[in-house]
Amino acid sequence: MLRVEGLRAWYGEATVLRDVALTVAPGEVVTLVGRNGAGKSTLLRCLMGLHAGQRGTVTLDGRDLGSLPAHRRARLGLGWVPDDRGAYASLTVTENLTLPPAVGPNPWPLARVYESFPVLHERRDSAATQLSGGEQQMLALARVLRMGARLLLCDEPTEGLAPLLVARVGDIIRQVRDQGTAVLLVEQNLRFATGVADRHHLLAEGRVVETLRNEEVRERESELLTYLGI
């Protein structure tokens, strides 16, 4: 469903992505792993159309996203969970959830979101930035589910979460995958990654240098961990 070819991205003089190619199929969970500063967040921002300095081809279901602005990409079904959690201070939790339009075939009704995330229901009238970091992470994930996005672009959704919540995020990702939603997941936690994903793209020097299957990641775990500097 998503195909990226020859993607180059830069900040001023500094090239961050040189030649990225990757694909994500419907209902597939694919991770993007790489060292700090490898350009993972930049790649997601390029896909969302938020990064001006980029060249290359990005297609969604065969449609060239080319120069489509970010809001059009969202309306085609891209759901971004940003690395900073993207909570609005000036919106309540409910407003944070209902702000984006429904963009996919099965947006979650608010009631289902609250059933899945009872803590958000409890805090529904609070300003979103009053939530704890973990709760904000849940909110960002819940928001793209409510949009009914067909391809989730999740930037380290488990970062800084307690183990129980990490497991919860894993459950949810498996649940949406089973509905046919695709997920491109930036993830440093390899155990978690192999638990939810099918394939893993290793990003280094501005390229996807290797694409690994779960077994390969498990076999080479210590090598990869050293490489990632964890």
């Binding site: 971004w80 609005y88 984006p100």
Partner: protein, 293 residues
């Protein structure tokens, strides 16, 4: 005591103008990140327009209160599309310069046609008398201005806080990039929000016509104070700009009455307060530090 209440009331009335103007400036800044220097000129156009409607077309005050803000809102939208929009991708300083230039053009156009003399505008007859508050009488028109401004501010606050449009504007104001990534066409809201801010300046201008001297330069000094108000309240903060508007109105009125031996102190008090607030809280009293994209 009675003179204190008198000064306080006068302060609230001049605060009402500051609040309306600061509110429009804050709404515009929030959405566009543009400091609209021309805000004072639009306020002036509001007052001049009210005067001209009456003298040239016999349109009374109450109709002007409807027509002028709508017309200025439309004019504002046109200015946004024709000029402000073209500079959107550049440093915001360019738009500051643009609106500064626009101010000079608007002032001189009015000057060219009507000179710099102030024109009197009669208080609408329904509000000609005074209102008896027991101990005191206040001019009915000023009571009306205060009440109208308070209602307008509350209405804007409600609109922003409790409607879907308001929610979108808040989101786009706080984090424009994230909002676009969530499927909101932020660009679509820029023109109407700019027009709305200008319409608020127009409301202030209409209200000013019967009680302030109507002339091409009436907005020039005021806009400087309004900038100070917006900075004190916190750039882009709706509540902050309104609260600071009324607050500064009070400070000025008290300063003028009780520090009249030291006019310098009274006149600069606003800017001293602004400097102090900036040192203490750079984002203003009710402002938030800029969030990352």
């Amino acid at each position: 005591m009675s003179s204190f209440l008198q000064h306080t009331f006068d302060g609230l009335v001049s605060g009402a103008f500051l609040a309306l103007l600061a509110l429009g400036l804050a709404v515009i800044f929030g959405m566009l990140r543009v400091v609209n220097f021309a805000h004072g000129a639009f306020y002036m156009l509001g007052a001049v327009g009210t005067y001209l409607l009456l003298t040239e077309f016999g349109v009374p005050f109450w109709w002007a209160l409807l027509i002028v803000p709508v017309a200025l809102g439309v004019l504002g939208m046109g200015v946004e599309r024709a000029f402000v929009h073209r500079l959107a991708r550049l440093d915001p300083l360019y738009n500051f310069l643009l609106t500064f230039g626009l101010t000079l053009v608007l002032q001189d156009l009015v000057k060219l046609r009507y000179g710099t003399q102030s024109s009197p505008y009669a208080t609408p007859s329904a509000l000609a008398g005074t209102v008896d508050f027991g101990l005191f009488d206040f001019p009915a028109y000023r009571v009306f201005v205060l009440a109208f401004a308070v209602v307008a501010c509350v209405a804007v606050w409600w609109l922003l806080g409790h409607t879907r449009v308001g929610m979108v504007v808040r989101a786009a104001t706080e984090r424009p990039e994230l909002s676009r990534a969530l499927g909101i066409d932020v660009g679509r809201w820029v023109m109407p929000v700019f027009g709305f801010g200008i319409a608020l300046a127009g409301v202030a201008g209409v209200l000013a016509a019967p009680m302030r001297a109507v002339n091409p330069l009436m907005g020039a000094d005021l806009v400087i104070v309004v900038f100070a108000v917006v900075v004190i309240g916190g750039l882009g903060s709706i509540f902050g700009s309104v609260a600071a508007g009324f607050g500064i109105g009070l400070v000025q009125a008290w300063g003028e009455s009780y520090l009249d031996q030291w006019p310098i102190v009274a006149q600069t008090s606003v800017f001293v307060i602004m400097a102090a607030v900036l040192l203490w809280r750079p984002a203003g009293l009710f402002g938030r530090e800029e969030a990352p994209a």
